[in-house]
Every structure is written in C-alpha cells, then in structure tokens.
Subunit: 222 residues, 2 copies
DNA sequence: GTCTATATTCGGATAGAC
DNA sequence: GTCTATCCGAATATAGAC
C-alpha cells in the first residue's frame, strides 16, 4: 500500500533517489575501466588521466567519485571480492564434502588465473600504500567463511589443518597464475592435492566419522 | 709451476684490475642500499635520487653503474638468488632424503619471510616492466636444481609430483610472508605437509624403495 | 558534478664540462 | 667516473568558475 514512493518525494536529507543511483553506476563504470587499464599497463601504474579519459571525464572529475587513488584501489578490491563471491554463489557445494572441497579449490584457482592483476590486488600485498578499508575487510570475510564451511564439512576443526589448507590454495593459485596463466598445469592436480590433504586428516584423528561437528575457527590471516 | 701469475700481468684487453674491482664493489654497495630503500618504501617506488644520495653520489652518476632502473632491479634479483644459494650451501642436505626435503622447504620459508620485498622481487611478478635477464635466469637455475635433487632423492621422477611440490613451497612461503611475517605460523607445519606429500607418493608408486633413480625433470616454470 | 587551469612534486634520463 | 644543470614528462591533487 505504498503510493508513488519513487517519483515525487520531497525528502531532503539523504535521498536514495535517481541521482544516487546514477552516481553509483558511474562509480561502477570507473572501476570496470580501471580493471581494463590495470590489465593493460599493470596494476601499480594506472594513470588517473587515462582512466578519466576512458570514462568521458576530465581527470579532476574523478575526485567527485573517489577521494584518492587508494580509494579507487579499495573500490576495485571490493569489486574483485564481490566477483569471487558471485562465482561461489553460482557453484553451490556438492553433496560429498570432499568433492565440495575439491571444487572449491578448483574454483579459486580458476578465478585467480582468469585475471592476473585481480589476483594481485586481492591476494598479494603489492600496492605500496594500499590497505583494505574496514568495509573491504568485511567483504573478504564472506569468502573466508565459505572456505571454513567447506573445511568443517570434511571434519577440520583445528587451526593447524586449516592453515595447511590455505597454504595449499595459495600455492596452487600462485603457481597457476604466474607460471601457466592460461593453462591448467596446476589446476589439474588440485584433486590429487586435496585428496592427499584429506588422507592426512584421516590418518591423524582416529577414523571416527564425525564430519559434521561445527567448531569456530578464528579469522586471523589467510 | 706457475710463477708470478697474479701480480705483474701485462694483459691489456679486459684487465680485471683494481679499477674493475672497485667498480664491482660500488655496484654491490648500491644494490645493498637499494634493498634497504625497498624495505623502507616498497620495492616499486625506489627513487634513484634517494638511492644515489645514500651512496654518496649524485643521481646521474648511478648511470655509470646501471643503464636503467630495470637494470638495477635485475642486479637486485641476481643478488637475491645469490643469497638464497649461499644459504643453501650453508645447509647441506641431511642423510635421510625425507628429512632433507623437509629442511629444504623450511629453509625456503625462512628465507622468504626474512625479507618481504626480496620475496616479492624473486618470486612474484610485481614490477611492471621487469623481466629477469638471461644472466639472471641462469642464477635461478642453480636454485631449482637443488630442489629437483631433493625431489629425486625421495623418488620423484614425474612432473606432476614436482608441480605439486612447488605449489606446496609457494603456498607455505606466501602465507608465512604475508600473514605472519615474523612468526612461524606456517613454518611449523612444513614437516607435516611434506610428510603428507611423501605419503601420497608412496601410496601411488607401489612401495618399491628405489629412491636413488635419477631421471631428469624439465625446467619449465616454478 | 563537471569543467579549465594550475599547483606541486617528483620521476628517470641526458648533455657536456671537468 | 663524477659532477652541475637541465630536460621532459608524468603524476596526484586542488582552486574556483559555471
């Protein structure tokens, strides 16, 4: 029973109206072009001049959208993690928890090798002054939680095993991205690596099959 | 029966005399200072002005030692790998090949986490225009060969297993360097990870104990 | 929000005397 | 080999009119 709630509102404070939508759309367009430029020239050497030109603005006008270059990197960072979360959402976990874990790692590797500079921004610390903002950190948690869930589903409840797993993911993505960007040289061994990881788990805890206990892992690092 | 072969030689073509030694010493000093600066400001933003000042030169004089900034990065790259090789030379392999492999990975992780920017230059592709020169590539081979040797000693003869191993090393170093630079959060699980790797090897090839066969691995990537 | 114009700083690299 | 002096370009960021 809301009538005409989007056309003729007279609110003054912070109206989420057409103007704001347009602003956000332009932000998104800028970020998209920034990725394009980063892929072309390298992440560290994006020029705000080039960028502005490509979104039909003069260079100073970018400051209406981003307070600084680092703020732009932050927006790209958030955008990148959103893409990752979207990819994960498109691939719900398989019923078998081992299979789900394998597919999770494969997705990570594929995602990273799709776009080297995105991988660089999201998973390396390579831009000199850049530190993800609190809001950006928030988004990364969404991804980490997916990983933890998959781990718990195969029975991992300790930080040690979790750390080994993150090293595994980091290693395969890194090698694939930097030594065979458009191939599958490392991707094709993900299954074997995960099976080796799971076998190690089972060798440790006596083979009690309690894969469904849920203890909480501390979100430090990784 | 060689008499006075180092004091009074009259060779003229490329005399490795005092002048050349001094030149190389200065090169080394510059590189050392460059590392210092890189650790302070970040690898990508070394300024040749700052650098020159710190080695008591004016900025243009650096060009008597390095043709360009990229040439400086190349020298740092070579220097970094020399440091790694030296470290390896100080730690000859244990008699037990599994133990030798564990220690090799632990050395790699320790070496990398000792110096983040060194790790960045040697193992990431992060400087926009930089590609290691042929001479630099030569030096990296020395390190790779040590790794292959350790792998062959535990019976690895296939590229697949070797690739999994390099992913393991890359992953542990990466996590240690970026998520716990001065701690041992990942370092302390290297042994378990390597044992899990070796167990996987033994599960694959029937447990014939022929750890000493030497087939050659192709030097692609990693 | 967008523009023009400009401030400011800094970068790498070169010329040419000594 | 080292210097002074300078070039040339590029960068991010700001001021202020519209």
């Amino acid at each position: 029973m809301s009538d005409r709630d989007s056309s003729d509102e007279v609110v003054a404070d912070p109206p989420p109206d057409r103007r704001r939508l347009r602003h956000e759309a332009k932000c998104a367009a800028i970020v998209a072009e920034a990725w394009e430029l980063a892929r072309r020239d390298g992440l560290a050497v994006i020029s705000l001049r080039d960028l502005a030109e490509r979104v039909d603005l003069r260079q100073p006008s970018l400051y209406a959208y981003f307070d600084s270059k680092l703020a732009l990197y932050d927006a790209m960072f958030i955008d990148g993690y959103r893409q990752l979360l979207e990819l994960m959402a498109q691939h719900p976990p398989a019923d078998d928890p081992r299979e789900a874990l394998v597919e999770f790692v494969e997705l990570c590797v594929r995602f990273s090798s799709e776009d080297t500079v995105r991988h660089q921004l999201l998973f390396q610390r390579t831009i000199p002054g850049f530190r993800p903002s609190p809001e950006a950190r928030e988004v990364t948690l969404g991804f980490l939680e997916i990983g933890w869930q998959r781990l718990m589903d195969v029975g991992v409840t300790d930080v040690a095993s979790s750390d080994i797993f993150t090293a595994l993911v980091a290693g395969f993505t890194h090698q694939q991205v930097f030594h065979d960007p458009r191939g599958d040289r490392w991707l094709r061994h993900v299954r074997r690596a995960v099976e080796m990881f799971v076998a190690d788990l089972e060798g440790r805890s006596p083979p009690r099959r309690r894969a469904d206990q849920l203890r909480h892992l501390r979100p430090r690092g990784a």
